[in-house]
Symmetry: C2
Subunit: 572 residues, 2 copies
């Protein structure tokens, strides 16, 4: 075949333009066409909540390049050298003849376009829950610049005072911050009994919920929306009906998940997950090697250190990586996509909330033999004014000590720790390796032993049987269901501030320095739960007691601060 | 032997207390003694510049625990369970009889103490350059809380207006910030012709120097201090004499490096580096397996992905890791110290400056076959107000594509990127792996493709021959020494702002979108250096020109912004 390679790309938002741009650089002669159903191509959808918040005032920032050029078909033709057809929908794929049926949405004209390589980058769509009222005027999904623009305009024009955010995932958290900071009273409605149910374990989510509460967000958790109730005119929603209450509102934003746009692939007989998402190999090839898929329409395997089936985690970062992998493979370069680690991060008010790898919930579902700890403390030396508290929860495999997952939340620098952990998970590293990395240290950035290394040490100690500890949740349960006692080993002055609330008969206070002398005050026939501010001394108390023949001692992970979610640190 | 294991630890600042505390937790019955020459034990020396700056006002923060307990011998005895002897010096080691000769510095009494295991954690000492005047009253080294306390007091009491900082390493940078922010006029004197000579390549250092200049720090680079000139009374220094000038000052701070306190080990016949530093294995054992060494008196091997001899890099983070490795090994647990990556970070005014792995200078000295790029751009999506510019320089091995080193500087979030790179270097990862890690992405933290992944891509492209580029330094040289021309492919409006200064006859301006049509305006017989704002379009111009038969085209790495060090971004 003497003619040049014909590459057709379906979808023009993230993976599509990345594939086309990279491929043009690698293959000057390829015949590259990108089609997009919408009028807009290549926009930064992740920035929509920040437009709503007012972080920037011209929404063109999301549709234009850094220097202000609109990313139009003409722009792509002139600067990137490939053809773009907007308002063009792919109706079906004829794999045998290698053509795609296209429809011009302006003229309704249909044509067939031939391809040698086809790339499906059709993205995802906001899930529309099966409830009445979604089409009312003041109901927004938040997936397109037009949605953000109209929401901002109407907040101003109509003077909205109240909003209901349905869904407490990443977008729900970001929009809640945005609307609250614009002065609206926001109620978050979430079907599950915690925020960020797909991202965080419940204990970490509870810490995040405290912060939402501090910011006067109303939480309606464990509530299912059953309808959006219209006003008399039937034009706009006046309240959100859940299975528990009716919440009056001026507007409703819905972000209850994304569904992969896989119908085109599915109808063409390409392998897809039952739950949705096109299945791809390490080079983003579908079950037809001449058809690639990438971005929000595909599922991803985990990096090799994490077990489990392919997962649907739509993210702009992954979409961009896919684009490069696809272009490289079409051009004959084999650089694999090595999988995702389920990494995600979100800012919500003053909190940074992140995760990489598995949650405890996931590890349980997979019946993995894991160990887990929760740590809480400042992210920098305590003498730095910039020090901020954060909680870290860390899981590792008992079998091979490999790091399985990290969750972190708080005002501290979460991103730095999540990224280091994501790298360790990528390489299948162990706890000992995580603790050994030569991470950047200086007081403005962290303490000599970074919190992520401290967590690895604490988890190692627990796994090695050197320490015995309970999470706050487990400790609360132990206190509620047994005759266990608590041992506060903080100094008298600290102790005056705040003690964990419990029956005084079941609470001992012996500063660590006096513990050896006063050890006889403690009962040997009861479980003893030791704690201090963050539980380093609680851990030492456990060892001192063990050494004195007390067998039933556990320290409370994260200590008093974790029990009360670091409230003393919030104002550091 | 029925008696308990006798462990003697020489040195009580960082590695010593860490070793003793961990060992007590692992071995309840060990007989642990820690000795320290000074009166103070276990202080946070890294915090001294922040005390000087006024970040905290009670210097006890450095000598007390987080909850305000002084870390005294009594504290260690009571809460940690080991003995501490202060004002006690180790004079000599008798390896045959396994004793150490100790001297009580208050009574001058000498005794021998027996050990089964000996730990040398003797730290480092500030290097005292061989010049007259070091003992004058207003001359400070910055290694002990007393130094910081007296400096702060005298600045206030004497009304110091001017300071000379001798040495532009980590401490020099921190103290310069501290004194400037206290209102003093600071002159930095550095023997080498750049700041941070042991840490950064000169091109990155020059960017840092611009920032020092913006903060009105006087730089005296490439100047050797020959004397501190005393006043008439001979009590205090009135000026610093260099080989080029006399600099009047009210006080002098000297931080020209740390030397390992290895004489005790050396005199006992333990293997040391000729240049200084006790040689240790992966378990921190010296050449005598019953003697361990750790912290600032020891040298470290590099992690296995980096070639080279053991290096002396004294850092609090490493000292703490050593302490744990030593305690574990004494207790029979074998968790190795897997080496350092030469990671370092420092904050200086609004700049974050970090490095991990090798610099280009080091790679050259080792004759490695490497490729290198410099990138400059915002650390977050351009639509975020919090986006800040930074430069990243990245090296990788041509042989196996392994990441060799990263340097980063600017107002952007450098720590996050340095940590991710440090992890990759720890695991011996390649550029492709670095780009593949599932790093945390959301607009408040970074763009979809993190800058560190973007750098890995650009360096891959260069290594694979897809792109051809020159660093700003190389481009400047090419313009100076050949008849090369420049090609600005930015839009007219951008171009109006600022163009790289050069002879108009050797400067072409063709916006990228017009390049294909106007290609004949360019000379085929000259080197063409293309650029735009950050050089993504510069790179595309190079490819378009290559495809049109122009062979002599390179894009300028980091583009216009890197040429002028991102000055347009400083106010983002």
């Amino acid at each position: 075949m003497s003619s040049s390679l014909r590459v057709l790309i379906i979808g023009g938002v993230a993976c599509g333009p990345k594939t086309a741009s990279r491929l043009r650089r690698l293959m000057p002669d390829a015949d590259i066409t990108m089609i997009e159903r919408d009028q807009l191509v290549s926009y930064g959808a992740c920035g929509l909540p920040y437009y709503v918040e007012g972080e920037f005032i011209n929404i063109n920032a999301l549709t234009h390049t850094q220097v202000g050029l609109p990313r139009t078909p003409e722009f792509f033709q002139k600067t990137k050298g490939f053809k773009t057809l907007t308002r063009t929908e792919a109706l079906s794929i004829d794999r045998k003849n290698k053509t795609v049926r296209l429809k011009n949405l302006d003229t309704d004209e249909e044509t067939d376009m031939a391809y040698d390589k086809l790339v499906i980058a059709a993205g995802g769509s906001a899930f529309r829950p099966p409830i009445p009222g979604l089409d009312l005027k003041n109901v927004w999904f938040m997936t397109h610049p037009e949605h953000a623009r109209t929401l901002v305009d109407e907040i101003k024009d109509q003077g909205f005072k109240k909003a209901v955010m349905v869904g407490a995932g990443f977008i729900g958290m970001e929009i809640t911050e945005a609307l609250t900071n614009k002065g609206l009273d926001v109620t978050m409605v979430e079907m599950f009994d915690q925020v960020m149910p797909g991202v965080l374990d419940k204990d970490i989510a509870e810490y995040v919920q405290l912060h939402l509460d501090d910011n006067e967000v109303e939480l309606a958790l464990g509530e299912r929306v059953t309808a959006l109730n219209p006003d008399e005119s039937g034009q706009k929603a006046v309240s959100v009906q859940t299975d528990k209450q009716t919440i009056d509102t001026d507007c409703v934003i819905i972000a209850v998940g994304t569904r992969p746009n896989d119908s085109l692939a599915r109808e063409a007989g390409l392998s897809c997950m039952d739950k949705g998402g096109i299945i791809i190999n390490d080079y983003c090839q579908t079950s037809d090697p001449d058809i690639y898929a990438g971005g929000d329409c595909a599922v991803n395997r985990y990096v090799s250190s994490i077990a489990g089936n392919p997962m649907y985690v739509p993210l702009g970062s992954t979409a961009n990586k896919h684009g490069r992998v696809i272009a490289d493979h079409i051009a004959g370069m084999r650089v694999p996509f090595e999988g995702i680690a389920g990494t995600g991060i979100v800012k919500c008010f003053e909190f940074n909330i992140g995760r990489t790898g598995m949650t405890e919930k996931m590890a349980k579902q997979m019946n993995l033999d894991y160990e887990v700890i929760t740590w809480g403390g400042p992210d920098r030396p305590h003498y730095m004014k910039t020090a901020r508290y954060m909680l870290i929860k860390m899981l590792a495999s008992k079998r091979d000590r490999k790091l399985l997952g990290v969750q972190a939340a708080g005002m501290g620098d979460v991103a730095k720790r999540v990224d280091a952990a994501a790298a360790v998970i990528f390489f299948g590293g162990t706890l000992d390796q995580l603790a050994g990395i030569d991470l950047a240290y200086a007081p403005p950035y962290g303490p000599p032993l970074d919190p992520i290394a401290v967590c690895a040490h604490i988890l190692s100690n627990k796994m090695d049987g050197i320490s015995r500890s309970l999470s706050v949740e487990e400790a609360k349960k132990r206190m509620d269901t047994t005759d266990a006692v608590m041992l506060d080993v903080r100094e008298p002055d600290e102790n005056k501030l705040l003690t964990i609330k419990c029956d005084p008969d079941r609470h001992f206070h012996i500063p660590l320095g006096e513990l050896r002398e006063r050890i006889d005050e403690l009962p040997k026939d009861k479980d003893i739960l030791s704690y201090c501010k963050i539980s380093l001394r609680g851990y030492e108390a456990q060892l001192i007691l063990n050494q004195a023949g007390f067998d039933r001692v556990w320290f409370i992970e994260g200590g008093h601060e974790a029990w009360y979610y670091g409230l003393n640190y919030l104002g550091m």
